[in-house]
Symmetry: C2
Subunit: 501 residues, 2 copies
């Protein structure tokens, strides 16, 4: 038997990536499947990640003039039917409410009763219901722009589900805005894409490519869909957020009209944009290693775990007193406008088990503190971005004085590492042959960047032949003219292709 280094997660990434992903979630106590098909339970450590994502994005949305509101969970069937492409996109996978109560059928069995006149769909997204509301809120150009966001749960009846990445119910935010001109609406669409990109890179430490979707990959009903695409450690792409320019498609189907300053009645120009708990799946697959989750400090549920090491009961007081004071002093330090979050782990379990539990949960910094450290006025530091054995002693006061710097250093390093990873697995491709070779099953795959004039037929062929899709037409550094590698025609844009989640 070959002796591989022991890792906390079995299997490792290279052994079985999908199973590794499930095991990281389990080991970090992030989420679990529920008895309701496709619906997940988000556990406290996973939900705290979502709360941190929410808090930062919510502040960003408000800083860009948006206000939160709340719209009904249910959408009348007739609303969903209003926009033709939209209904095609969502009717196949929606939860349908048909009855308003359960009733004893006479045999002691409860059966659905009180059938509704019109079935209700549990919202898969809210363009149609919000469009209906907007049609009443908007009368004049003075009511525009209308900039609204909703934090909500949505349901899409997925056949194959995977925790965070694809679940029947998920949590998200959906921005919905209406504008007087197409230019303003497009500007909004791109502004929110930029908010997402900055958040993904600066907070989740997840490098993203901003781009426009090709027609075959657009949101059902959109004129243009913009996306941020991230690379996971199996070289697949993850669509991490989308921002849609809806033109007048939904304002026409929902009758959102306004009287312009010249007293002309016009349809409004609308947008919608969203990110979801899927971001947590992206976070896991961007940073985690074979020892479990790695949380970027800026989004971590807690920043520092203190693990008292008590070799014999007589020393418990000494160690605990030191650790209590350490926790107190650390919690006085501000990080991103709030106190550093410290977990002082006094559980009655073995020290090794304790340390490994925090490694698996991905806490950025672990401090192990025993009697000898206390005598030296020092702490033993483990950074989660380093290997589990790479620990170092540091003067206690110096550790405290540099704690924020250390957290920011970890944050930066995680981003750089992910960026290098993506760059190493990205390749500019110049021929169809090389393209096919790049995506063969025995190859590492990754992001293929190629000049291409996409067509529906080509999209279908690539999906069928290689399970590859156009992820996006990058918005930046994409100005050189070239030749479509598939048709040989002139092409003015490159497309990023990948296998994807």
């Amino acid at each position: 038997m070959s002796k591989a280094p022991k890792t906390a997660i079995t299997p490792t990434r290279s052994e079985d990536y999908p199973e590794w992903y499930q095991q990281v979630i389990k080991a970090a106590d992030l989420a679990e499947t529920s008895p309701v098909r496709g619906c997940m339970v988000i556990k406290p450590w996973g939900y705290a990640l979502w709360e941190n994502i929410q808090a930062k994005l919510d502040a960003d949305f408000k800083a860009t003039g948006h206000r939160n509101a709340y719209f009904p969970l249910f959408i009348p069937k007739s609303f969903i039917e209003k926009e033709a492409e939209h209904v095609d996109g969502f009717a196949k996978e929606c939860a349908v409410v048909t009855h308003a109560r359960l009733e004893d059928d006479g045999t002691g069995q409860l059966v659905p009763a009180g059938e509704l006149d019109e079935p209700l769909v549990v919202r898969p997204t809210s363009e149609t219901i919000i469009g209906d509301v907007f049609s009443r809120w908007i009368q004049s150009y003075r009511d525009l722009p209308l900039l609204i966001n909703q934090w909500a749960n949505v349901v899409r009846w997925e056949m194959r589900t995977r925790l965070f990445l694809r679940t029947s119910e998920f949590l998200w935010q959906e921005g919905h805005t209406a504008h007087a001109t197409p230019d303003e609406a497009e500007e909004e669409t791109l502004k929110m894409l930029e908010v997402y990109a900055r958040f993904a890179e600066d907070y989740m430490a997840m490098p993203v490519i901003k781009g426009r979707k090709t027609d075959d990959e657009k949101f059902p009903g959109a004129v243009d869909t913009y996306t941020i695409e991230a690379m996971m450690q199996d070289h697949k792409a993850l669509q991490a957020g989308t921002s849609h320019f809806l033109g007048q498609n939904f304002s026409k189907s929902s009758n959102i009209k306004f009287l312009s300053s010249e007293s002309i009645e016009e349809y409004a120009w609308t947008t919608s944009w969203g990110v979801s708990t899927r971001l947590i799946g992206g976070l896991i697959m961007t940073h985690s290693d074979d020892d479990g989750l790695i949380c970027p400090p800026r989004i971590a549920p807690a920043h520092i775990a203190i693990i008292p090491v008590i070799p014999k009961p007589a020393l418990a007081d000494k160690v605990n007193t030191f650790c209590d004071q350490l926790a107190e002093d650390l919690a006085k330090i501000q990080y991103l406008g709030a106190p550093i979050k410290v977990e002082l782990d006094k559980r009655d379990i073995r020290g090794g088990e304790k340390a490994w539990s925090w490694i698996k949960k991905g806490i950025p910094i672990r401090l192990e503190v025993g009697p000898r450290d206390i005598d030296n006025h020092s702490v033993f530091v483990g950074r989660r971005d380093k290997g589990s054995k790479e620990k170092y002693g540091q003067n206690r006061d110096e550790f405290i004085a540099t704690a924020v710097e250390t957290l920011e250093d970890i944050q930066k390093l995680l981003f750089q590492r992910a960026l290098s990873y993506r760059e190493a697995a990205s390749k500019v491709i110049h021929s169809e042959k090389d393209f096919y070779a790049f995506f063969q099953d025995d190859q590492p795959s990754g992001f293929a960047i190629a000049h291409c004039n996409m067509t529906d037929a080509l999209a279908e062929k690539l999906q069928k032949d290689l399970k590859v899709t156009a992820r996006c037409i990058p918005l930046e550094n994409n100005e050189t003219a070239g030749t479509c590698i598939f048709s040989g025609d002139a092409s003015d844009k490159k497309i990023v292709f990948a296998k994807s989640y």
Copy 2:
């Protein structure tokens, strides 16, 4: 025609209280009905109230050791059926999902398809689904106490709905905890009741009576339900929050067992507790007047509206510059740990309309600032707790220096006013005759406090005769022995009775 003073809200409270309530909501732009029966749209100003309620309660929950998590929206029918009283309480009013997609029936009509093997209920409350999850999370006494909270939407298919007070879908939080002993669980139940009471009184400025529900008013499946009851301005009671000691009822039906420190397998003792968007209904009916909403400063979406008064265009620059600086200086002041929220209203509408819009929205302080005020280095102050005409000039710097004090003064006054109101409409009753007289339709009604040994038959009779219910058995100042006013038997507790929402 008699000349009544003009009010912003028509009808007034005394003319038609229920309609006044709807008009206050409309005038303050808090919420509206939606095309989905019984579901409301919460508009930005109303949602901001909810966000402030959430932020403070969430901090309180975390400070008392609770962590947030998220559980599925759907509950399998078989789960709801597990607890007999529970299913009786909720089966009659629940949204039932029976299908997983919409499909063209061949005539171009979309109909529900993909029938589910087992119908799913949209959660009316989550004891059963969370109980199932807890049964897996809890193995040993070391896993206890388990202190979880969820912020979520829930659905109860109400027949008669009213914005915020009773809607088919509403937003709430539901705490769910499990403990090793009944004492601990009861302690938790009462601790969270106290958190609610402190929040209601100190933040919503809404005086509440803490009490225990009589058996006929308990939560379906609870051993004991505790409540906070507030008095509205029509003298009716509003149940503003409840905290339930569930005993082992749900742990037995959900099989939540743990191994005690003596290695004995025992059922856990559980609690649940919740408040909802109903609190906003309580806020409206506690403080608002015939000019519209009044927001207690500690929970207000914004604290101060600045209204530039520009008598002629040439003075616009002067006024706007002064107001910009005023807004900037005010926003530097901390109130409850965050900057004072200022609305600088530069809309292009008449000044009077502008001032009234803020009065109707209930902003605690309005500042009207015209050229003459600027010459005097002063501002014209309108406090929402005073009459709309009661305004006063104040030195600008003095206003800024005392802004927090003024806000806290308004907060205190609103509470005191509501408390006096309740006290004036509460009466200790010593006989059945007086009790019936108190609740006659031509009487002002209110809270009747009387010694009573409640029975199901009596509860039914009072409901039928007077539409009156036992609101609670107060926890405080309720130790004197007496005689049940209905049966004449000895009674050791007084009960608060009222008509209620």
